[in-house]
Symmetry: C2
Subunit: 366 residues, 2 copies
DNA sequence: GATCATGTTCAAAGCGCTTTAAAAGTGATT
DNA sequence: AATCACTTTTAAAGCGCTTTGAACATGATC
């Protein structure tokens, strides 16, 4: 009648947790009834249910997640594999906010988030692992490349998943939530051209990443739509650090045919661009214009009332929420057709753009 | 003999996973032997072990994590509760790098990381939840406050944990990994005073946070050690955003007794300070000096060869590794006494500091 | 009083693994 | 051929839950 286990090596551990068996004994009910009472099954008398609920609360009972998972076949957890750039040892700063958004939703639905940060060349393994171990019911795919083997792999494995972004080369259909990157960057480019800018530099992310390729595309189409040719020397792509923005902008501004405007893929790199502009004795928004994509990171708010940067804006936290919601729906009903959610970025005008300093070429086609 | 289940609603799901029973049947062995072979128990004949290993590999067998956890009583997972500031909806950007570091270690030891991002006023609940559900074997505590109820709670619950930072008011003993914030900021302050600066502003984090209080302490002790009094008007504290750094620095620089130097708690806010300095037509490192704490975030590297900022440097990713290692050791042997790991920040001189522009007061004590 | 429908509770099986205690096999020694 | 020591394998119990199918009340209906 007493669970005193002498010589138990974990005796020092504080009071172990109450389990269903104990709780049902206290109540003088079967485990079945207690379990059903707590899980809202209708065949339990209301009085009994109340009694059980109350006892569960006072004894701080919470069903063991593993046992529950084993019995139901559902882990009540979703996996995020966040890639750590193997070349730069860098983890994309947008993940923090994306995850904050997704987490809100998981919390609400009782899901856990299990996360594994792996070198970007080991990601596939991480997915297989998740799938085989059965530790998650679904997966969010981060940072899709143009051709991304993970998507095929996950479809094959049969684990529900949602991609944050898209993979252009992937032929199959799948759930995704993405920003209309092409459109956003085309609009931004046209906006700059309309202000009289002719030499517009693109400070882009790594172009194996699908989002970066789409942005480049938008940039080029924007130029083309205004009858301008893209200058390959103005197009740069790398991991979006502050230093990359700075160094690239500095080099470009020092050249003999310096750009009068920059279009940038991340507010972090944009901070570097601004630094280079000011170091060159120039004034952002007057001498040189800058438009950046703004993921609305919580710690890098773009100005208070008037945005510092003119930006194509789309909240990555919101994207996290949407991905999570979609994934939970898919887990609940795996057989429904894939959904696609294309978010339009707002083009918000801030202080970093203005008319090109001196018209350099006639606006008409070459 | 065939597992074709007609009418099964999840028939579309790809091939379900092999389990121990199936694998042992294929091998003509008992589950016991197969389990032991794979888990490295000595009482299995070497030939058998090889045979089992090979079969496991070819059939892509991986033990079900939940079942294993249930049987062993260990979740092979650790929990991170990351606080989302309820006032600013902000998630601290250092988490991404911390987690990348911790994840390395978890991966190596076969642990999963389960993460829950909750409003900072709901954290206790999240811990209780983790503990009661038994979904993790241990917990990392992020962002300790000066008086932090979570630590007492976790000790009580008996779940192994490691704190990233410390809580000054907490009397009990517990595992922690922290930077010597007081020392770092004292040294930085003295460094600035020795360069002739007399009016040094402190741009600090929220002072309910333990790290911020310690830094303030170091700052004040540094001034005191050089016989200077702290001016309360120069001490600011808030959530460390770029805008906060900028706005505060701008206001201070516009005042009649502007500081000649800034000591800042985060490189993100320091970027804002630099912006304010340059907007005021001043030159950082000549007219105004800046020292910042640098967590060595991967996407905000402090310069390439010569650091942009003079900084007190300590890698938060490394802290993540250390916390994870400590936690895993504690899980393995919960009865060992708590360890403390105090990291010293390096004071690295960059381009943002220089002698005070014009000596304003005699260096001797007042 | 037998039958039925309905509401409520329960015993037992099963999820996939580990682990205990026992059994079976293998030589060597007597 | 019996005994012993040792190595290798196994059956079965158990981890904490859900869920199936059966049992037990209760009152209404014939």
């Amino acid at each position: 009648m007493d669970d005193n286990v002498p010589g138990n090596q974990s005796a020092l551990k504080a009071a172990r947790h109450m389990n269903l068996k104990e709780l049902s004994q206290i109540l003088g009910l079967s485990q079945t009834t207690v379990s059903r009472a707590l899980n809202g099954y209708p065949e339990v008398a209301e009085a009994t249910r109340q009694r059980v609920r109350k006892a569960a609360k006072t004894h701080n009972y919470r069903p063991n997640a593993r046992a529950k998972g084993l019995a139901t076949g559902r882990a009540m957890a979703v996996g995020h594999v966040i890639p750590v750039s193997s070349s730069h040892e860098m983890v994309n700063p947008v993940f923090a906010d994306f995850i904050a958004g997704a987490s809100e939703i998981y919390l609400r639905h009782g899901y856990d988030m299990v996360l594994s940060a792996v070198a970007d060349n080991r990601e596939e393994h991480a997915y297989r692992e998740f799938a085989a171990k059965g530790s998650v019911d679904g997966i969010i795919v981060h940072g899709p490349r143009i051709a991304d083997a993970r998507i095929g792999l996950l479809s094959e494995v049969g684990l529900p998943f949602v991609v944050h972004g898209r993979a252009s080369d992937e032929t199959g259909d799948y759930n995704w939530v993405d920003v209309n990157n092409r459109r956003a960057f085309q609009r931004a480019t046209e906006f700059l051209v309309d202000l009289g800018h002719r030499r517009i530099a693109l400070i882009n992310g790594l172009e194996v990443m699908d989002f970066a390729a789409r942005r480049r595309d938008g940039y080029q189409q924007g130029l083309a739509a205004r009858g301008l040719a893209a200058d390959p020397l103005l197009i740069h792509s790398d991991e979006m650090t502050e230093a990359y923005g700075h160094d690239t902008a500095r080099a470009l501004l020092a050249g003999d045919t310096a750009p009068t405007a920059f279009l940038c893929s991340s507010i972090i790199a944009a901070l570097g661009i601004r630094r280079a502009i000011e170091e060159a004795g120039l004034h952002m928004g007057r001498d040189v214009s800058v438009i950046t994509h703004d993921d609305e990171l919580s710690y890098l708010r773009n100005g208070s009332d008037v945005p510092t940067f003119t930006a194509t804006r789309s909240s990555v936290r919101q994207a996290g929420r949407l991905c999570a919601e979609r994934l939970i729906e898919t887990i609940a009903d795996p057989d429904q057709p894939p959904h696609h959610h294309l978010l339009e970025a707002e083009l918000t005008v801030g202080l970093s753009t203005g008319p090109a300093p001196r018209p350099s070429a006639p606006p008409a086609a070459a």
